[in-house]
Symmetry: C2
Subunit: 535 residues, 2 copies
């Protein structure tokens, strides 16, 4: 008994915190209770037994029709009313025909019931009829009820149908009056806020992914909830997942919002709710790019921290600017203001271009160059490999001892006329010794990177399924040089993948901006008056 009391207390506390977190839920509950109390009062006040014996229909209507949002209530109420009306009419006609049939009336009624039941159910399960499912259910219910009771009680038929319909109308009217009169909850408003809110959540995820990537965040063990795409508390993951998962909710809310009359800031007939879901869809398309970025963090093949640092400023800037654009768009959608200028993307595009240029200049960091010459000059490769090993034993932070640098340029095949200049050009590429410019530091970092990623290759996370299953790999045993080189190159490329996915995200922003602009046009967003406040 004490345990039961404890469970009840726990449930009560849970309900209390639940109500505190979303005050609209207890308000809704109070509204339903008020409508029920009103109906009960009505039943008690009016004493005709005809009404009382059918009072169940008013109560049933309130319980069934009173939904969370006004759109849902309206849609269910209309479905219910229409279903009852048409079914009542049809059933009366059927009952009337049956009365003139003599002995075979029961057979006729049963066959009719079967036929109507079959047709209604078949229509109900058709995907296009989803909006009217409830109406069809009510139609079938009413038809059967009126047929049966009409047959049994003879004359009462008309009276039953009318008083029943009257009580349904009363129940629906009370529901609607209470629902709109007290603290109205509009599905359209919910849809609007849902779409607007997800912008900020995707922006958080994006920033988190870029930051996490640059700080070399790693999952000791990727949560199995992420691997099976279930809800998880991971902040990087929950942000974009919320935007992806919002789809079902957006569609449901859209189905209700189209029933709602113009209200509040949505003062237009045929308000373009559809466009909100389109914006939600475009945001979802962007979220999938963030998901791919997160995939780079989840992946077992990781690039070396040194390399990431080289691109850190540019990646950061693209991530920040893209998040800023997302937040700005979300703010515009939320406050229903137009974009102040068409150049909302100019900053982020510039940042992406800078990143692209940096990649262009430093793309040697994105590939493993060790084996390039292998087919043509195996000896050189062995040499450079040996040096990479030597580099590993050196302190990475200390400046390298002065040395002669051979700079690496891809020189395509030349025409005969130019062949005699090629040696001279190679000579000109050699940086004079002791010249400690920025370019020298760059090559040093390249060398230390080669060494690091080799070590990285040896220490690749042993718990990963990838390595476990790779036939020649054994976690405890040192890898062979060829395999470790392959992983070096994979890990180097992973940085390039991250960067190009980030650029792809920026490209998708354009599509999102288009969707928001279409929404602004169709929904008649107001022009921004004050200085646009960048969040």
């Amino acid at each position: 008994l004490r345990r039961a009391a404890g469970a009840v207390c726990a449930a009560g506390r849970e309900l209390w915190t639940f109500s505190r977190n979303d005050p609209r839920k207890p308000v809704y509950a109070a509204k339903v209770a008020t409508a029920l109390a009103l109906i009960t009062l009505l039943v008690f006040l009016r004493e005709p037994s005809d009404i009382v014996s059918h009072s169940v229909w008013a109560i049933l209507t309130v319980v069934v029709v009173f939904e969370f949002s006004i759109g849902a209530t309206l849609s269910k109420g209309l479905n219910r009313g229409l279903g009852t009306l048409t079914a009542g009419g049809l059933a009366l006609a059927v009952a009337e025909s049956a009365r003139h049939m003599g002995d075979q009336d029961i057979v006729f009624l049963i066959i009719t019931t079967f036929a109507v039941g079959f047709a209604t159910t078949l229509i109900k399960v058709h995907p296009q009829m989803k909006l009217y499912e409830y109406g069809l259910r009510v139609f079938l219910l009413t038809f059967c009820y009126v047929t049966v009771s009409g047959y049994n009680t003879g004359e009462f038929v008309g009276g039953t149908a009318v008083s029943r319909f009257l009580l349904i109308v009363i129940g629906g009217a009370v529901s609607l009056a209470v629902n709109i009169g007290i603290y109205p909850i509009w599905a359209g408003e919910d849809l609007h806020h849902l779409v607007a809110r997800n912008f900020a959540r995707v922006a958080e995820s994006l920033e988190g992914c870029v930051d996490g990537y640059l700080t070399c965040m790693e999952y000791q063990r990727v949560p199995s909830k992420i691997l099976t795409y279930q809800a998880s508390d991971d902040p990087l993951y929950s942000g974009y997942r919320a935007a992806v998962e919002a789809q079902t909710q957006e569609e449901t809310l859209l189905g209700f919002a189209i029933w709602e009359p113009p209200h509040g800031p949505y003062k237009m007939m045929k308000y373009p709710w559809q466009s909100y879901t389109k914006v939600g869809g475009a945001l979802r398309h962007c979220s999938f790019a963030v998901m791919a970025l997160h995939g780079c963090i989840l992946s077992e093949i990781q690039s070396a921290p040194e390399n990431r640092q080289v691109f850190s400023a540019e990646l950061h800037r693209v991530g920040d600017e893209a998040a800023k654009v997302l937040r700005e768009l979300g703010h515009r959608v939320k406050t229903m203001t137009r974009l102040s200028s068409p150049n909302i993307l100019s900053e982020v595009l510039h940042a992406a271009e800078e990143l692209q240029k940096k990649i262009d200049q430093r793309s040697y960091l994105l590939v493993n160059t060790d084996r390039w010459g292998e087919d043509t000059a195996a000896s050189t490769t062995t040499c450079s490999r040996h040096e990479a090993g030597a580099g590993a034993s050196r302190d990475n932070e200390a400046p390298p001892p002065p040395s002669e640098h051979a700079v690496i340029i891809n020189i395509p095949p030349m025409h005969d006329s130019e062949s005699n200049t090629s040696l001279a050009r190679i000579a000109s590429v050699n940086v004079p010794p002791l010249h400690k410019s920025e370019s020298l530091a760059r090559f040093d970092s390249a060398a230390s990177w080669a060494a690091m990623s080799l070590a990285d290759g040896l220490a690749l996370k042993p718990q990963g399924s990838w390595h476990h299953r790779m036939p020649p790999f054994h976690p405890g045993q040192p890898l062979e040089a060829a395999e470790s080189r392959t992983y070096e190159s994979a890990s180097a490329l992973s940085l390039g993948t991250f960067a190009s996915l980030l650029i792809e995200f920026v490209a998708r922003l354009g599509n999102l901006v288009n969707a928001v602009e279409e929404l602004s046009d169709k929904a008649g967003f107001k022009d921004p008056v004050e200085q646009p406040s960048v969040l």
Copy 2:
């Protein structure tokens, strides 16, 4: 009138094709109709007016409870029965108390109704209560009804509740008997087939993406349905989207399947339906990787066809092997057989390794090497750029005129002791003139690629929003050299991105295999007897 007749005809044809496509739907409709006809017959046969006046409850129960799958029918029926029973008990107690209250009974009843309505609705909207939502609705409905009619009719209370409950039991029993007796449709079976079928759909999408990428498939204009993640007929897109979208359906079916008794091949108490949704989730995680691959095809930045050809065999093999693994896993899940050996992944991992090695050897195709030396030796870059332009004017197919080749190796900084050997090494890298080996052809293709991608950069799809919005870009005008170089490098990198996303997909397959193995263990899949038939 004729138009109305036409519309009815069209609707009829639509229903006919709909029924032909999924015969289970008309069967379900026929079952509902049969149950309704049975109930009507029952009502007509038994003549006591007490039963007849309450016969609505039996009909209502059939209409409301008879769902498509047996699990859903059971779950709704139990909810309905329990809700009615508890609410009836509570309402009788309340009505009894009210009768001893004298004048204030109406006030007491209304306050009780309000309190019960509030509490029930609040519990109903709690997310954890979703399974019992219908039961709570019925509870509230019954409570109000019995309270009101109990107050009004005095003694009838007990009789009403009992006969109502009896009729609900009859309605539920008829529904369940018809539903199980005639062509049963199990939610668990649906869940099983849904999960198994999606494997093949993802495999198709994957093959389509790899093939499309290698044949340089391009969207003239990306369908806006894809950009807003709506349903579309695109075969590449619909495959992985089906797996992603299946989530809601899987969860719904899981909610019904757990109510179903052991049946058919699922002959275990507490059958692990949860594991099926986990497999579905792991497949979804893989689908997101396919989605990222498709993103590479949708992207405006595309790598040159020549480059893709270089990796064609390897990419193809990885795609084929991965699709084979997916189909094999789907077949295993469908036929409920264990994996015959733990090495199902060995082929695809080997293929991925080969791809990785190829990338390692040819990674110069993935980056734009033109600007590597720019900081240190600008003059050389100009030179090589000039040559790329010259290469472009040459016929790409014809063998190049014999020339001296400077091969490109990344030589990290060296120690002093080695500095004197560097010039000699550079000399050794030069391929002797007139030596038409495979390596020569390789460099030729590299050169022609550089020329091609330059042309590509100039002819980048003008309708894309990316380029429209890029400030210094004007579709009609030739790009400046720096920008076109940046796009060359981006387009070169995009091939690397595709390859590494494909490898990431292979890595995620491991997770999927784990999920399938977990399912085989928990659900006691049978061991394969015959030679495993690879589909």
